[in-house]
Amino acid sequence: MLTSMSQLKNGERALIYSLENKKDMRRRLIDIGFGTGTEVVCLGRAPFSDPIAYGIKGSVIALRKADAALITVDREEN
């Protein structure tokens, strides 16, 4: 099911479907591993629920909610 990455709950996994971020940020996200088709897992949120930590290819990367909201993912159903 397609949803925005910021909607993932802690522990949920998804495959990255598309990135709508602005040019520079989009390139950077792809460079650090958020390319389409990559599996991502939501790991947790900061105390004020922003930013959000994601697990990607064995690393933990935190993104702001607003940036994560521009990434569309395909949620894995259990």
């Binding site: 460079d31 389409t36 930590a53 990367i61």
Partner: protein, 694 residues
């Protein structure tokens, strides 16, 4: 980039490469892969390392001490790719594309090889020779990940070696590879369409003294590199401007025909090809015995909704408490030690029949001030820095940035500003340089202009001294007040950031990505050696360099009598009205002005001015110091405002120069001086008002 002898103070301004005739080897890799640690063990330099992203924002240079041949190692700033979205990526890219070097050592993290191979393949595309160093192999083993180095070597076409940054002997194995004849790496197949275009560009270039690798790289960068970069690259390869223009037209036509003019789609295709290749390589040569990644229990505590902030304050309090408590005894020892030296030198000079004024100048001016500076400044720093380095090495700082980002975002700034503030606690000049880790120009300027709000190593002990005299009898109470002062400094940083981002530096918060590295056991011995020796050398060096001449100048000023009083007396009286207006006095203000080169000398100047006879008196204890201050009209208000003014006033001259260099703008440099000063004056007036009411 951290706090070392070479990176803080005046060293922060020196960045150029040394002259060198031997071979040159580049160290490249993602941030936080232990690159600097490897570099340090190979060169013996004490480059500061820490478990967070973006420690190295400048290239570091060092001669390889493990190599027989004359070898210069160049440590590039960590970056995720060569697509240059940020300052450090631009530095790394330009170095890899344009500088002369024999080999590139690509350092990767064994536990997330796939991500790191992205950069590796980008570098293999252009480096004449390369080798891949899969670092942190021990850490990966613990996580159940092992890497097959021979297979990786076969797949990439370059020598590969597994290392553990902290294991002895690994650096020797690595340096042995420097001497072996290497090779360039295997290229990436970008698919028929792009490869067809590359072939047509190559046919134009090869044979002009340009290798196939260089020609391919040029063809690709003509597609995605940006105009300035392509022109520099053409110059580097000595490609004739007309040929360059022809290739650029070829590239534009290709983008138009194959991607409908959508350059973004083309970049995606290039990235996707590299990503796919990295993924395939990593899958083939990595064995993952259990699913990795994720936040452990420690992260639940350190970044948890209800625990994050209490834990942060508790950690800071604990560090401050140990610093305040532990510094007393060594301070006393040092003081006694300098008393002995002073008496000894004084006796010796008198015996040698040196004229009395000169003896006094040397003993009561130079030695006494230097001794004071060292004995008060050194012990707190020798305790604070190892503790702080421990936190840094474990990997706590990125968690702090993670916790605090929301506050900074609310103020229109970047969460990474909290990292530059931590560096500012050590040295504001280093903190200002560290602001390069912030990508957005606007947010970087906010961080730059407010960095002086964090009390640095020179001001820290001033706070401890005055708090000890006026407000706290026990170490615990001192630490609590010190913690409060730092919290106020942080709050003011946020407030002023907010003001700046809604006035002078208007804009919306930009995006940011922050890597949270795995926790690492720090190497205690390394931490101690690095922070104590580096710090000790730094403080001593600075103390001698600034305090000795300053001591002489101040002694002269306070002993040269014009009319009815000394020069220093005239000056401080002239400043008295302004000083009194903001709840201080002329002497304090004068001391802060004279303390411009280094805040360490502010308190000694104040004492020298107060003490009749024009020399710093025998100052064996805090109580005695307190008596002198109180006799000269210090009240609780003076002390509070002194604390405020210590935290909020113009930055030291080195920091000002660094701001000038980093921003290249006189206006911003002036702003960096005026903003903290204005903040300080405002707060001082406010407390004066409050004190007059109660």
């Amino acid at each position: 980039m951290g706090l070392t002898y070479s990176s803080s103070g005046s060293g922060a301004n020196k960045t150029s490469a040394p002259e060198f005739n031997g071979r040159r080897i580049l160290f490249a890799g993602n941030p936080n892969v232990g690159k600097s640690t490897l570099f340090n063990s190979l060169t013996g330099l004490h480059q500061h390392t820490g478990n967070w992203t973006g420690k190295t924002v400048l290239c570091a240079y060092g001669k390889c001490k493990e190599c027989e041949a004359d070898t210069l190692l160049i440590d590039l700033p960590g970056c995720y790719s060569l697509n240059s979205r940020s300052e450090e990526e631009r530095v790394a890219r330009d170095e890899i594309y344009f500088s002369e070097y024999e080999k590139a050592v690509i350092v990767c993290d064994a536990s997330c090889l796939e991500r790191h191979l992205f950069l590796a393949y980008q570098i293999l595309e252009i480096a004449p020779e390369a080798l891949i160093c899969v670092n942190l192999a021990d850490e990966a083993e613990r996580k159940g990940v092992s890497v097959d180095a021979p297979l990786l070597s076969e797949l990439t076409g370059v020598p590969c070696i597994l290392t553990s940054a902290k294991k002895k002997g690994d650096e020797k194995k690595l340096s042995a590879l420097f001497d072996k004849d290497g090779s360039g790496g295997n290229g990436i197949n970008y698919g028929d369409r792009i490869e067809g275009y590359i072939a047509s560009v190559c046919s134009l270039l090869i044979g002009e003294g340009i290798s196939r690798r260089q020609a391919r790289a040029f063809a690709l960068r003509a597609l995605d590199g940006g105009e300035d970069f392509v022109l520099s690259f053409a110059k580097r390869l000595s490609i004739h401007p007309s040929l360059t223009a022809e290739i650029r037209i070829l590239a534009d036509n290709f983008i138009a025909s194959a991607f409908g003019g959508n350059a973004e789609a083309l970049c995606d295709a290039i990235s996707a090809a590299i990503t796919a290749r990295a993924e395939k390589t990593a899958r083939q040569c990595t064995v993952r015995r259990r699913a990795g990644g994720g936040l452990g229990r420690a992260d639940k505590l350190l970044t948890g909704r209800f625990t994050a902030f209490p834990v942060m304050l508790a950690l800071l309090f604990f560090i401050l408490f140990l610093t305040v408590k532990g510094a007393n005894y060594p301070s006393d020892m040092l003081r006694r030690f300098f008393d002995i030296i002073e008496n000894g030198v004084c006796g010796l000079l008198t015996d040698l029949a040196v004229p009395t004024p000169i003896v006094k100048l040397i003993c009561e001016g130079m030695i006494r001030i230097t001794g004071w500076v060292i004995s008060v400044m050194l012990p707190p720093m020798a305790i604070f820095f190892p503790l702080f380095t421990l936190l840094e090495d474990i990997g706590y700082l990125p968690r702090m940035a993670f916790n605090l980002d929301c506050c900074f975002k609310g103020c229109g700034a970047c969460g990474k500003q909290s990292l530059t503030m931590c560096m500012g606690l050590g040295c504001n000049a280093a903190g200002v340089v560290g602001c390069r880790i912030i990508d957005s120009r606007r947010e970087r300027d906010i961080a730059l202009l407010t960095n002086a709000f964090m009390p640095c190593n020179g001001r820290f002990p001033m706070l401890i001294t005055v708090i000890g005299i006026f407000f706290a009898s026990s170490g615990t109470a001192s630490a609590v007040i010190l913690l409060a002062v730092i919290v106020i400094a942080v709050l003011m940083t946020l407030l002023v950031s907010k003001l700046l981002s809604s006035t002078l530096l208007r804009g919306v918060p930009s995006s940011f990505t922050l890597e949270l590295p795995s926790f690492r056991m720090p190497n205690i011995k390394q931490v101690l050696i690095r922070s104590v020796i580096d710090r000790t050398l730094f403080v001593l060096g600075r103390a001698v360099a600034v305090a000795l001449p300053a001591g002489a100048v101040i002694w002269l000023l306070s002993n040269t009598v014009i009319g009815d009083s000394s020069v220093i007396g005239h000056l401080s009286r002239a400043l008295d009205p302004i000083g009194a207006f903001i709840g201080l006095d002329g002497v304090i203000l004068l001391a802060f002005i004279l303390g411009l080169p280094a805040n360490e000398i502010v308190i000694p100047i104040i004492l020298m001015c107060y003490v009749s006879g024009g020399a710093l008196s025998d100052h064996s204890s805090l109580q005695e110091l307190g008596i002198i201050l109180k006799e000269n009209g210090w009240t609780a208000l003076t002390a509070v405002n002194f604390l405020i003014f210590t935290v909020f006033h113009w930055p030291c001259s080195t920091t000002v120069l660094t701001v000038k260099k980093e921003t290249g703008s006189i206006k911003k440099t002036l702003a960096a001086v005026i903003i903290p000063t204005l903040t300080g004056v405002t707060l001082c007036l406010l407390t004066r008002l409050i004190f007059s009411i109660i």
